[in-house]
Subunit: 594 residues, 2 copies
């Protein structure tokens, strides 16, 4: 009951028909990413995900990672799996060939990342964090640091971590207290960091910690934070490893889920101070960190898609198998997939998973464009789109994933509550994703503040125009497509109305943006998802018209798009109502009366 089959057919459809792989692979450096090569990559990744990573998912949950004599011991099988992952070249799939990466588009590695996360969320957190470290080093490190650390991290021979949070400073980094004191060509780091994912382990011979800390003369607040590279083992000039640095995992958290992923309390400088190297400029650590965080936010959005897909597969398998009761129009006892309400749940799971996947891949393609399009104006245009969609991919996908994993439990009935079944693990594991890398509330504040208000709504208006273009196309594409136009139009109008309200109201009400933020973000996710489902329907209609490919697959696309339009898009109205309600009833209650 806990198998995972990578949905390669569906992924190919999204890559080719919605995300524009055929455009991305015309970008300089991505020419090799032909559909054939991408298919081969997906097939290989699917094998590793299904055969190696997925079978470890439950073992990882049961055994968990443990801190034994100061070292983190991971569940059985994880070390071998990680070795296979590195040997397959998967760690650097979309990384710079200059540092031993494979140089494929981020779009392609996004699909592959979905597989790792669906197969084994705990495992996948390790490469996700490493990727973030690579991005920060690529963007901000000097050549010496790059030369030493990048090839090892890109290939996955070493892993990376992000050390932001301290006990007194969760999402608010202005109060970071960890200290960095100059000491010759390096710094000595002292302080404690919490919630450090894969902060210690013995999968690799070294671990590279990126650590936020303050220089002695640093200004208060976020403008006084610098970023440091702190290796677990010091690296000699010739690349060999020296002594153990003054950094240790001192305890692990007992969590609701992702038990195989060690969440460490890291102590820096219990003795002389951990040796660290400044990454980027002094006091500019937050900007460097944002490089990592933006990457990680898309990555966590993909986790939403992935855990939803996994929960869906498990629920479908159970619903096909479990005989229970009778169904209208069927003789005798039936499998529960014939019960309308079970189907309704499965369709909610399926249609929203498809919508999330399409939006996430689309954003990944835009990110590739923003880096690699030859024309600067094009790059800027795509960067604006990426900036607008990133908080939505992160927060909407992870929130919808909660709905999907809880439906996954529900489809199983009583069996869903029994840990043996597996559905409960997805429900528990997935619960973290609306929290880490910036909670839903933080993503929503980013969306309304930096991405909508700051440019006066221009990026949003451009998006709305793109949605309208699709609405027009729906009319001429058969009955099934025409049938979803109304709901998309209403959703788009609701999003436009909410945006206008925000722009009008926030100058006169300091609480307006924060009060409306999450509802506006969920409204936007719902509508953007509907936009992509409409594009999927158009593509499917065209394929059916031209008798291309698997007709059943394309018909199922039309059905899923219709379901989304009928059951999911109408939620736009209630999100809009909550936005328009403003801040009064949210702020009115006296604190002590809560």
């Amino acid at each position: 009951m806990t198998t995972y089959i990578a949905p390669t057919l569906e992924m190919q459809f999204v890559l080719n028909e919605l995300a524009g792989l055929d455009t991305v692979n015309t970008l300089p450096g991505f020419e090799e990413a032909t559909p054939d090569l991408v298919d081969a990559v997906l097939e290989e990744a699917a094998r590793l995900a299904s055969e190696v990573l997925a079978p470890l998912n439950k073992i990882g949950d049961i055994e968990g990672s443990k801190l034994i004599d100061g070292n983190v011991v991971v569940p059985q099988g994880f070390a071998d799996a990680y070795r296979a992952f590195v040997e397959g070249g998967w760690a650097g799939l979309s990384r710079n060939p200059e540092f031993d990466g494979q140089g494929l588009p981020g779009l392609v590695s996004t699909a592959v990342d979905e597989m790792w996360n669906a197969a084994n969320l705990s495992f996948s957190l390790c490469p996700l964090l490493t990727s973030g470290a690579v991005e920060a080093l690529e963007a901000h490190a000097d050549e010496a640091l790059k030369r030493i650390y990048l090839p090892k991290l890109v290939t996955g021979e070493w892993t990376g971590t992000m050390n932001l949070t301290e006990p007194q400073a969760g999402s608010d980094l202005s109060t970071v207290r960890t200290k960095a004191v100059p000491d010759g060509d390096h710094y000595r780091i002292t302080g404690q960091k919490i919630y450090i994912t894969w902060g210690d382990h013995e999968l690799t011979e070294n671990i590279v910690h990126l650590v936020l800390a303050r220089l002695p003369d640093a200004p208060d607040g976020v403008k006084g934070i610098s970023l440091f590279v702190v290796p677990k083992f010091l690296v000699n000039e010739d690349g060999t490893l020296g002594e153990h640095n003054d950094v240790h995992a001192v305890s692990l958290e007992h969590k609701l889920g992702v038990n195989a992923s060690p969440t460490c309390v890291m102590s820096f400088g219990d003795e002389d101070g951990a040796v660290g190297y400044l990454l980027g400029e002094p006091n500019k650590g937050l900007a460097c960190m944002f490089t990592m965080m933006n990457h990680a936010r898309l990555g966590v959005g993909i986790q939403g898609v992935a855990i939803a897909e996994r929960a869906l597969q498990q629920a479908v398998e159970y619903a096909r198998d479990r005989v229970q009761g009778s169904a209208p129009g069927k003789d005798g006892r039936v499998t529960i997939i014939h019960h309308p309400d079970v189907r309704r749940m499965l369709m909610l799971m399926r249609s929203q998973t498809e919508a999330m996947r399409a939006v996430a891949y689309l954003t990944a393609a835009a990110l590739d464009q923003s880096h690699s399009a030859p024309d600067a104006a094009e790059r800027a245009r795509f960067q604006t789109r990426v900036d607008l969609l990133t908080p939505v991919v992160k927060a909407w996908s992870t929130e919808v994933a909660q709905e999907v994993t809880t439906l996954g439990v529900q489809v199983h009935g009583g069996m869903g509550y029994i840990e043996e079944t597996g559905a409960a693990q997805f429900f528990r594991d997935g619960r973290i994703i609306t929290i880490y890398e910036g909670t839903t509330g933080i993503q929503a504040n980013d969306l309304v503040g930096r991405k909508i208000v700051r440019d006066g709504g221009q990026a949003m208006r451009d998006l709305l125009t793109d949605i309208e273009t699709v609405e027009s196309a729906l009319d001429g594409a058969g009955e099934a497509c025409a049938g979803i136009k109304g709901a998309l139009s209403e959703g788009r109008a609701a999003l436009a109305r909410a945006t206008d309200w925000l722009l009008e109201t926030h100058p006169n009400d300091v609480h307006a943006a924060g009060s409306a933020a999450v509802n506006l973000l969920m409204l936007m996710g719902t509508v953007v998802g509907g936009w992509q489902m409409a594009r999927a329907a158009l593509a499917a209609h065209a394929k059916l018209e031209s008798n291309e490919g698997d007709a059943k697959f394309y018909q199922s696309k039309l059905i899923t798009a219709r379901f989304y339009a009928e059951h999911v898009l109408p939620r736009s109205g209630s999100y809009l109502a909550a936005v328009l309600a403003g801040s009064e009833s949210i702020m009115a209650l006296d604190d002590e009366y809560f």
Copy 2:
């Protein structure tokens, strides 16, 4: 962080202003239930809940119940707590004085039950199941059985269980295989039952299992099921206990939550067959079981209110305590309760918890009326209302509780994912309540089939009329009340429209009712909750006008009602849209294409 304070002020408000305690205590037998007595009962119960049961909640989660040498061993402290519970007379609070009950209205014990469940859901399952057994015995047993079993069960000296489910028969009881063979004045029972809550323990000297089984000549299907009383220890003529019956817990489930509540696989008749006594008539077991189930369904609805209240209290405490970031209009760093989005989450939790409580208590009062009103027509009228509302209290309250417990985790940020904090336990524990005692889908089918279609929508129309009456009253009760009228009217119109659609569509589409059921139920819960919030606002307005009581409390009622109208009632529109979408897109996908 894991304290629980019973919300007695709020409970009194609901009992007195919304549920009509002043009418219930005019019913024959309930005259003693004066507001003063009820206040005293609530105060005593609050003490036991806060001081004894709540502190055991986390211990219970960590230790869990274990099967050791064939006996269930409960977590430390549970046996003493159960003794205190029995000695306080709490088990029989609303039970018949003829069998040593306290004879208070069910309305009062509903409020008290909320406390037990909020304090310790695992613990409370034991008396909940016992209550079900009492109801079945009271309604269907002959005098001899009543005399032997009822006093012991009413006082809680013995506990009761419900044995319905078998591995091949989850919600579908037609396939029950457990056998009952006549043997003198009793029967010999053989078979295996699963998911038996508190199926074994050593809290009491005996346990009374109610067991569904088939007589040798029984017809197939649900019309061949009989109900039996199967004591763990046989009871001698003089009431003393004899030998251990042939029934044993053979394993416990490893569950997502409610770990202290042993969920047993029970084996009957491994040797000679367990001795059982027929309860009610042969082959009428299902009807007897329904007596227990209806009671248990309201009880599980109360669990929704309870776990939501507990999650809310924990989230508020954290939000008041946790300093993080800055807030508009406040100097320096603030506690997170000042962040608009945290407040939005707390208000969603709070307003929906209040709405659920009001609907549940209202239904409990109607149940008292349906049993005890002097006039037969009145009893019937209230019974109809109880029948209509029971699936809503069960399913809507438990579904909304999922939203509340997950928001509770979210308010805590990263801390919410750490088990030590406690928020995750409510999230895990509460996940079962949409499943047991009939899943949300089963409740919804009951609502649309037996409660709406069967009487042609009459009971629903009567309810809609009652809601309209409240809408009219809102106009004349100040600005705050008038402001919530629009949302309630729209919600009520949506419910009326959905009902009409159901009545029109189901005769022509066998899948219509099942496809629309859950959305219609959630729509109804949302609107009925809004109706009660509107009544609360009216009552608060009247109190404020007459300068009675705690003005801050009543002002907070107005704010919460407004928030519910602005943020929750608009969901009616999306539920209605999903109802009106019908069955096509739900049923269209080929099974193999899921």
